[in-house]
């Protein structure tokens, strides 16, 4: 070992190395300076909580439209017609978010995600209304790549011209919830915040925590931060979210519903084919009607009850105008 050290020192060119040493120090110092400057000049978007305006409402008919049949795409079209036509909501040049449930690495038959045909037809209609961009995304609970593929939604939506994207963790903005009961603010996904129209497209499923996951729960895909923490007091938090983020249209996919072991499912025996799609601008009424498909009283589903109590919609289905269409 001694030989090696001596040899190294002996062979080393000390005159040259002093110059090199200073060069190295100089470059390193410059690098550190640049790094420091970069570190200091963080953008003005850090730490500030912003308030969002309520999105504009469209001129769609009030009440529920319940469509039944086997041709899901045609059902979506007829449903939109009955609501007054999508062009009353989506105008030329609008940026639209079609927010399906792409939560789980499951196939269409397993009814854990929204049916790809329903999503695809909505995208197609938005494109027909000359929307500038139709964004389709969600925050899956399983590996996002697998989920997007296995659900069939990414391919179906892209085929109709949607911009399908994965969540970019850098694109969340902290937004205030002035009327929040459980939350003061939340992290809102920028791609949704910038949009002119939000169309909420959940699938109707059994859920261990919230009893059912319908329209209210589906909006959770646009939040960031620690999702696990949201599960404590989830009903209050979800409704808090809805006081700020208000999709103008909810289309509940009840073509196939998951009646047990939700929200992941996996056993085809838990899937019930209902061939139904429910559309409404009223998030409470649409969820309430979907609950009846499970033979569950809407008053027993706390999200729906809480949403009604905070004035987001009507829970009593006898007071709601329901148009039924068979395709």
């Amino acid at each position: 070992m001694g030989n090696f050290v001596n040899g190294y020192l002996y062979d080393f060119n000390w005159k040259q190395s002093r110059r090199d040493f200073l060069k190295t120090i100089g470059t390193a110092g410059l690098g550190a300076l640049c790094g420091g400057l970069l570190g200091c000049k963080r953008g003005d978007s850090s730490g500030e909580v912003i308030t969002v305006e309520q999105p504009k409402t469209g001129e769609l008919t009030e009440g529920l439209v319940v469509v039944t049949g086997r041709d899901y795409r045609a059902m979506v079209r007829r449903g939109l017609e009955a609501m007054g036509g999508l062009s009353n909501l989506v105008h030329e040049g609008d940026v639209v978010v079609v927010k399906p449930n792409i939560g789980w690495d499951r196939t269409m038959e397993q009814a854990a995600n929204t049916h790809p045909d329903v999503v695809a037809e909505l995208v197609k209609q938005c494109v027909a209304c000359r929307a500038e961009e139709v964004r389709v995304f969600d925050y899956p609970c399983n590996d996002a790549r697998r989920t997007y593929v296995r659900s069939g939604i990414a391919a179906a939506a892209e085929a109709e011209g949607a911009s399908v994207s994965f969540i970019d963790e850098d694109r969340y903005v902290e937004v205030a919830i002035p009327e929040g009961v459980a939350l003061d603010s939340f992290l809102y996904y920028q791609d949704c915040m910038d949009a002119d129209v939000i169309i909420n497209v959940p699938i109707a499923k059994d859920h261990s925590l919230t009893k059912l996951t319908l329209g209210f729960k589906n909006l959770m895909g646009v939040i960031g931060g620690n999702r696990g923490k949201w599960h404590s007091g989830i009903r209050e938090k979800l409704v808090d979210l809805w006081t700020v983020v208000r999709p103008q249209l909810t289309v509940i996919d009840a073509t196939r519903i998951l009646v047990a072991n939700g929200p992941t499912g996996g056993d085809l025996a838990d899937v019930k084919i209902m061939d139904t799609i429910i559309l409404s601008t009223d998030p409470v009424a649409v969820d309430a009607h979907a609950a009846t498909l499970f033979n569950i009283d809407p008053e027993d589903v706390y999200c729906i009850k809480e949403g009604y109590q905070r004035g987001l919609g009507e829970i009593d289905l006898t007071k709601v105008n329901i148009e039924r269409i068979a395709v």
Binding site: Y8, L38, K41, S46, N142, D170, L209, R227
Partner: protein, 516 residues
């Protein structure tokens, strides 16, 4: 001279291809060439892993090509193809060249790798795989994946995310970031908490250049020792036209491996890696590489005695290998987990533990392919002799229900490739709930995330006991309980438990079937 450039080109292409394969070693695994190919090329790994796993590990059949190449071309693999060798050639350039003056015998350091080879084979006879720690085709992927590529990617991601937050930089940074996310970066940011251990290893190997060029290859590489032994039979070899040679001393000093004797004519058997530096540096055109009978080369003293061990050293190294392996073979590894339920979680398809460690060559490919970064290298969790093998750490990443990628890329079959239906019922451990931490149990606070995410179709976690309590206004939150017969130990529950720090539900080995 142009042959040197050809050699460098082949080296760089080989390294680039090796790194590209690592890059493609991820979901959806659709590249036509198996990404773990380089790790299946080592005849040394093939031999020792087969012995220590007690079965012929057929995925190693590509290693035959390397063995045959050594039988024909000597250690050309070392000089032209080996990714670790190429890496060392590159890092060697950062250090001053030490002048060496070889004598008429190979340096004592060159002998060490043969002793390591023999010791490693002896250890494998006892079922203990130690060769993976020094086989370059295990070191290279493992160290690059965790010690080089992972920290580099984290650094790049951090720089880009800082740049995106700076007003005047973001218009440039955003497209860079999108491009990188789509084509360069992994889908999820790499997550190897002990990455620096692997950086240290490859930096340590590079630092051997302070002593000699190709220091690892000369002194430590057991694969080099194996190929060197085989190369004694090879027709391709270095010969010197003794009439032209003027004993100028250039080639012994040029030789990266110290393979040339002091007189410039003799080459130490099994040391030459055919880098051709001597040939190109000889002004008198006296050095040739040609096909000839090895017997003739030895008779003409072109090829001198190798650095292979004396009989005494041979026996000593067998003994050392056995002694090193004995504690593990007898189950007395000092660092083995004392309690069965602290044993490391192995991925579905893994062989039974001792055979798993025998077959595992510590290459790190399974850790690279795992889409959640759940497979992590052990340090001492599997005992000293189990270091760097793969275990599932659910808090970092869980085992995706519909995924079987690790079994598909394991070069040795230590993790068997299971069809999905079989994988989905393979039990690797059992979830255990800590009722003192779990929110519904400990605080009557709502949670139930574990039950929500459980992928087993019939749900391996049930919720019981919710409803109105005896006190007015008190609502009892339903509490989770694990269904022992259904839980497969995938760990998504542990991964998603919202508690800070330790999860309230953990997956343990040894609890399978309800008794330890």
């Amino acid at each position: 001279m142009c042959l040197i450039w050809l050699r460098r080109l082949v080296q760089l292409l080989s390294l680039a291809f090796f790194l590209y394969l690592i890059g493609r070693n991820n979901y959806p695994l659709d590249f036509p060439i198996p990404p773990e190919l380089f790790s299946r090329l080592s005849p040394l790994a093939a031999l020792t892993a087969s012995i220590s796993a007690r079965s012929l590990l057929t995925p190693f059949w590509p290693a035959l090509f390397i063995l045959v190449s050594a039988l024909i071309l000597g250690r050309a693999f070392c000089g032209w193809v080996c990714p670790l060798g190429t890496t060392i050639d590159i890092t060697d350039k950062l250090f001053p060249v030490r002048k060496e003056k070889p004598g008429d015998k190979p340096s004592p350091a060159s002998r060490v790798k043969y002793l390591i080879l023999i010791g490693g084979i002896s250890a494998s006879l006892l079922g203990v795989q130690l060769v993976g720690y020094l086989d370059p085709l295990s070191i290279a992927p493992r160290s690059y994946i965790m010690g080089v590529l992972a920290p580099l990617e984290l650094l790049a991601r951090w720089l880009l995310s800082v740049a995106k937050g700076v007003g005047w930089l973001s218009p440039t940074a955003n497209p860079f970031s999108s491009f990188a996310n789509k084509h360069i970066f992994s889908f999820l940011a790499p997550n190897f908490p002990h990455w620096y251990v692997h950086t240290a290893i490859i930096v340590g190997i590079a630092l051997l250049a302070l002593w000699r060029r190709r220091g690892f290859c000369r002194m430590l590489c057991p694969l080099g020792a194996l190929l060197g032994t085989v190369s004694r039979l090879a027709p391709m070899g270095r010969t010197v036209d003794a009439e032209r040679c003027k004993d100028c001393g250039t080639c012994p000093a040029e030789c990266k491996m110290g393979a040339i004797a002091g007189d410039g004519v003799g080459t130490f058997g099994g040391e030459c890696i055919l880098c051709l530096n001597c040939r190109s540096s000889c002004r008198l055109d006296a050095v040739h590489f040609r096909f000839a009978s090895p017997l003739t080369r030895r008779k003409e003293e072109q090829e001198l005695a190798s650095a292979g061990p004396s009989r005494r050293a041979f026996i000593a190294s067998i003994g050392t290998g056995l002694v090193l392996a004995a504690p593990r073979a007898l189950g007395a590894d000092l660092f083995l987990p004392k309690k069965k339920n602290n044993a490391p979680l192995r991925p579905p398809g893994a062989l039974p533990e001792e055979r798993f460690l025998g077959a595992c060559i510590r290459c790190g490919q399974c850790m690279r392919v795992c889409p959640t970064w759940g497979l992590q290298p052990t340090l001492l969790e599997a005992g000293l002799a189990g270091m760097f093998s793969a275990r599932l750490v659910p808090r970092i990443g869980y085992c995706e229900y519909n995924c079987n990628l690790c079994g598909r890329v394991c070069p040795s079959g230590a993790i068997q490739e299971l069809p999905l239906e079989e994988k989905q019922i393979s039990v690797i451990g059992l979830a255990v709930i800590d009722r003192n931490r779990c929110l519904p149990w400990a605080k009557n606070e709502e949670c139930l995330v574990c039950e929500e995410v459980c992928p087993v179709p019939q749900k391996a976690i049930v919720l019981k006991g919710g409803g109105k309590g005896k006190r007015k206004g008190y609502k009892r939150i339903a509490r989770p309980m694990v269904v022992t017969d259904l839980c497969i130990g995938c760990g998504i529950c542990e991964n998603r438990c919202p508690l800070e720090g330790k999860s309230a539900i953990v997956v343990e080995v040894g609890m399978v079937g309800g008794d330890s």
